[in-house]
Amino acid sequence: MDMPLPDAAIIARKSAITARLRSVLPADAVISDPAETRAYECDALTAYRCAPMAAVLPRTTEEVAAVLRICHQEGVPVVPRGAGTSLAGGSLPTADCVLIGVARMNAVLETDYDNRFIRVQSGRTNLSVTGAIESDGWFYAPDPSSQLACAIAGNIAMNSGGAHCLKYGVTTNNLLGVTLVQMDGTVVEIGGPWADAGGIDLLGVICGSEGQLGIVTEATLRILPKPEGARPVLVGFDSNEVAGTCVSDIIKAGILPVAIEFMDRPCIRATEAFAKAGYPDCEALLIIEVEGAPQEIAEQLARIKAIALQHNPVEFREAADEDQAKRIWLGRKSAFGAMGQINDYMCLDGTIPVSALPYVLRRIGEMSAACGLDVGNVFHAGDGNMHPLILFNANKPGDLERCEAFGADILKLCVEVGGCLTGEHGVGIEKRDLMSVQFNPADLEAQLRVKDVFDPGWLLNPAKVFPLEATASRRGAGASPHTPRIFAQRG
C-alpha cells in the first residue's frame, strides 16, 4: 500500500502552522509533540501507520472552520477522524497533514420525539445516540459492530451499516441533515428535520464520501420508536447452498426479519472452540432475528420455521427465553474475537447478489486451498454483505502480502458476480487500488469531479478512495504515483 510522499516544504513550516492553529484553538486542543501525535498514527487498519504533523481536537463548528481556513490558506492536507475505528484506513494520516479529530464534539443538541429526530455533534458515539433516548423508548437504527466506540462523523463518512440494516437501512437512509464545514472554512447547512433536503441531493453524496468533501460537525438523525421485543432463531444446514436458498425463500415470502446472519463451517468451529455457544457442527448456520410484540414474533417465527423445515435443516433452535436468545447471538458476536484467537486476520466487506452466495463460497474455499491461508465466512446474508476473515501470521515475512493478494482476489470475485468491493466499511486506503476493478475511468472521473466542486485544491483526505494515479494530477505537488510504502508493520 503506497501513500504519497509527504511534502517537505509543509513539514518545514510546522512550527509556524501550529502557532496559527494555537491562535484559534484552546491550548489543550492542539497536539504537535511527536510523542503525542503517535496516538493518532493509525485507525483500526493497524497494519499501516504514520503520525500526523499535528492533531487538533476542536469543540465547536466554529473551531473546525477556523482550523480548515488556516489549513486551506497554508495548503496543508487535512485528515478527518471520528473515533478511529475504520477498518479501511479512512483516517490514516500522512506526515504532512493536520488531523482533525471530532471526539470532543459529543453533545446532544436537540431531541424531538414529536418530529422523530435527534441532533447531535458528530463526535458522539453511535451507541450513545441510542443511549440518550432509549429510556424514553427510542433508538437510532444503524448499528455497526463497532458501535460502542465509533462516532457518528465516521458513520456518515463511511455510510455505515450493521446487522439490523436489512430492515432499517444504512446511515444514508437515516440521515436528515448535516452541518458541513468545507475545506475553505465555509459552513453549509444541508437538510434538516424534514423528510426531503430539497434541491439536488447533496446530503446523499456527502454521506459515504469518506471525509473528502467536508467535515460534518453536526447531524440530524432519524430516530425510531423501539419495537416491543425481538427474538432470534438458529438454523443449521449441511450445505451452504441450501442455507442460501432458505434465505432467499424467507425474503421472497415477504417476511422481513431485522437480521439474517450466516456463518460457515470454519467460522462455526472457531467460534465454538472460543465461545462455547453450543452451536451445531454443521456446514452453515443462519441466525434470524424478528421483532415485535410476543404474538407478532410467534407469527413470524412460525412462518420462518415452516420455510426452513422444507429445506431439511440439521437443527432448528428457538429461544424459549432471554437467556437462550443471548446464547444464540453469543457465537455470532464472538466470531471476530474467535478468529483473532487463532491468528491475525483481515476482514473483508464485499457485497454480492444473494443468488451468487453458494458459488462465491465455493470459489473462496478453492482459493483458500490454493493459497494456503484459511478463511472463515460470517456475514449479513439478507443483503449479501460478506465478511470473509482471512487468517495470516503478521510475524511471518510475506504473509500480510499473501493475505492482501488473496483478499483482493475475493473482492474481484464479488465484482465479477455483480457485487461490489465494499458494503459498509468504505474504501479508504485498503481498497483504493481496486477501484478500477469496479469502475471504468469515466465512472471514476465522475466521482473525482464531485470532489473538485467541494474541495478544488484536493486537500481533504486526499490520498484515499481513488487509485493514486487517478488523482495524481489533482493532488498537490507532493503527489507522485511511484511512492514508497510508509509502513507495513503490525503492532
Partner: protein
C-alpha cells in the same frame, strides 16, 4: 429525439445545444426549454430476481410494465409511485427514469423511505455524452461516492438516466386503515402519536378533516397493532383509498396553484391554518399539498425556517420559480455540480433556475 440505445443517446447529447428531457411526460414541472429528448426508446426490464428483491430496468420502461411484472410475483416498488397526471392535467405513460429523476415518493415514505432509498444503482449520460455508472444491484454498497442519490431527484440537471436498479418489496398479506374525523391541529397530532408508537405505521395522512393511519404486514400482526392504535387514539378501521392520497386527487381538475411542501411535521398544522388554504397532508404532516385558488399566497415566506416549498402547478402568470431558492453556500455547490456534469448547460435549461 428518441434514442434506442445508450450509444445513440450519447451521440445526440454531444451534438445538442439544449435538451428538454422527458420520460412519459407525466410529471415534468418547472419551465424547461430546448429540443425534446424522449427516453422511451431505452426500455425493458434487464433483470428481475424475486428471491433477491432486485430489479434492473432501462430508464424509459413504463412504470405500469414494472408494476405488472412485480405483481406477478406478489412484489412491488415499496415507495408507491405517485401518479400526478390528473393533478397536472397530463396524459402519457410514466417511465421509471422519470420517477427517479423526480424522486417521486408516496405515503409509505414514513416507513420505507423515498424512491432514492430503494434505488441501488444508475447508469446515465452526462452533459458531454459520457456514459457513467454508479452503485449496482446489491443492497449494500459504499464503493466510491454515492452518485445514485445525487441523480435521484436531480430533475435531469446532471444527466440523462439510462438504467436504474431497485430493491423491491414483497406485498404484505394484510392491510388495514384506521380513520377518524379530526380537525387540525388534533388530526396531525394523532398521526404523530401513531408514528411515534412501535406499531410500524406505513401511512399517516390527513385529507378533508379525516385522519388516516395505515398498517401492513402479516394478518395477525396487523390485527394486533390495529387494536393497540384503536385503544390509543380512538380510530376505527374503515375502507380507504391511499392512491387518492398519493396522487392528490382532491386537487385534480380544480382551478388554482398547487404547492408541495416538505416541512417539520409539528409545523404543519399552524402553517396550513395561517395560510388558510385547502391542504392534503401526508407523512404525518411532513408533506403538505396546498391548493391556492388565486396564486397570491406567499407560501415560501410562510415555510421559511421549517422546510421548503415546490410550485408543482403554477397558475398562468405566476413568476415564482418552481424549485425553492437555496441559501448561497448550498446554491454554490449545486451550481458547481451542474457545471461539472453539464458544462454546456444543455440539460433542461431554465428548469431548476
Amino acid at each position: 429525439m428518441r434514442p434506442d440505445s445508450e450509444a445513440e443517446l450519447s451521440e445526440m447529447v454531444k451534438a445538442a445545444a439544449a435538451l428538454q428531457i422527458t420520460g412519459g411526460g407525466t410529471r415534468g414541472i418547472g419551465r424547461a426549454t430546448g429540443a425534446v429528448l424522449a427516453t422511451t426508446g431505452l426500455c425493458g426490464v434487464q433483470l428481475y430476481e424475486p428471491g433477491a428483491l432486485t430489479l434492473v430496468a432501462r430508464a424509459g420502461t413504463p412504470v405500469a410494465e414494472i408494476a405488472a411484472l412485480l405483481a406477478s410475483e406478489r412484489q412491488r416498488l415499496a415507495f408507491e409511485v405517485p401518479d400526478l397526471r390528473a393533478l397536472l392535467g397530463r396524459t402519457g405513460a410514466s417511465t421509471i427514469g422519470g420517477v427517479v429523476a423526480a424522486n417521486a415518493s408516496g405515503p409509505r415514505r414514513v416507513q420505507v423511505g423515498a424512491c432514492r432509498d430503494a434505488l441501488l444503482g444508475v447508469r446515465f449520460v452526462d452533459g458531454q455524452g459520457c456514459v457513467i455508472k454508479n452503485g449496482g444491484r446489491v443492497m449494500k454498497n459504499v464503493t466510491g461516492y454515492d452518485l445514485v442519490k445525487l441523480l435521484a431527484g436531480s430533475q435531469g440537471a446532471l444527466g440523462v438516466l439510462t438504467e436504474v436498479s431497485f430493491k423491491v418489496q414483497a406485498v404484505p398479506e394484510a392491510e388495514v386503515t384506521l380513520v377518524a374525523e379530526r380537525a387540525l391541529p388534533q388530526g396531525l397530532a394523532d398521526l404523530r402519536r401513531a408514528l411515534g408508537s412501535p406499531f410500524d405505521v406505513s401511512g399517516a395522512a390527513w385529507v378533508a378533516g379525516r385522519a388516516m393511519i395505515r398498517l401492513e404486514g402479516m394478518a395477525g400482526s396487523v390485527a394486533y397493532r390495529a387494536g393497540k392504535l384503536r385503544d390509543l387514539l380512538g380510530f376505527e378501521a374503515a375502507p380507504a383509498d391511499w392512491s387518492a392520497v398519493r396522487d392528490v386527487t382532491a386537487f385534480a381538475g380544480r382551478a388554482g396553484a398547487v404547492w408541495r411542501l416538505s416541512v417539520k411535521p409539528t409545523a404543519a398544522a399552524d402553517l396550513v391554518q395561517r395560510l388558510d388554504l385547502e391542504a392534503v397532508c401526508d407523512w404525518g404532516g411532513g408533506l403538505i399539498w396546498l391548493l391556492d385558488p388565486t396564486g397570491q399566497a406567499d407560501v415560501r415566506a410562510a415555510v421559511a425556517g421549517v422546510g421548503h416549498a415546490t410550485l408543482i402547478r403554477p397558475l398562468p402568470g405566476m413568476t415564482a420559480p418552481a424549485f425553492p431558492p437555496e441559501p448561497p453556500a448550498v446554491a454554490a455547490l449545486t451550481a458547481g455540480l451542474r457545471a461539472q456534469f453539464d458544462p454546456r448547460q444543455i440539460f433542461n435549461p431554465g428548469m431548476m433556475g
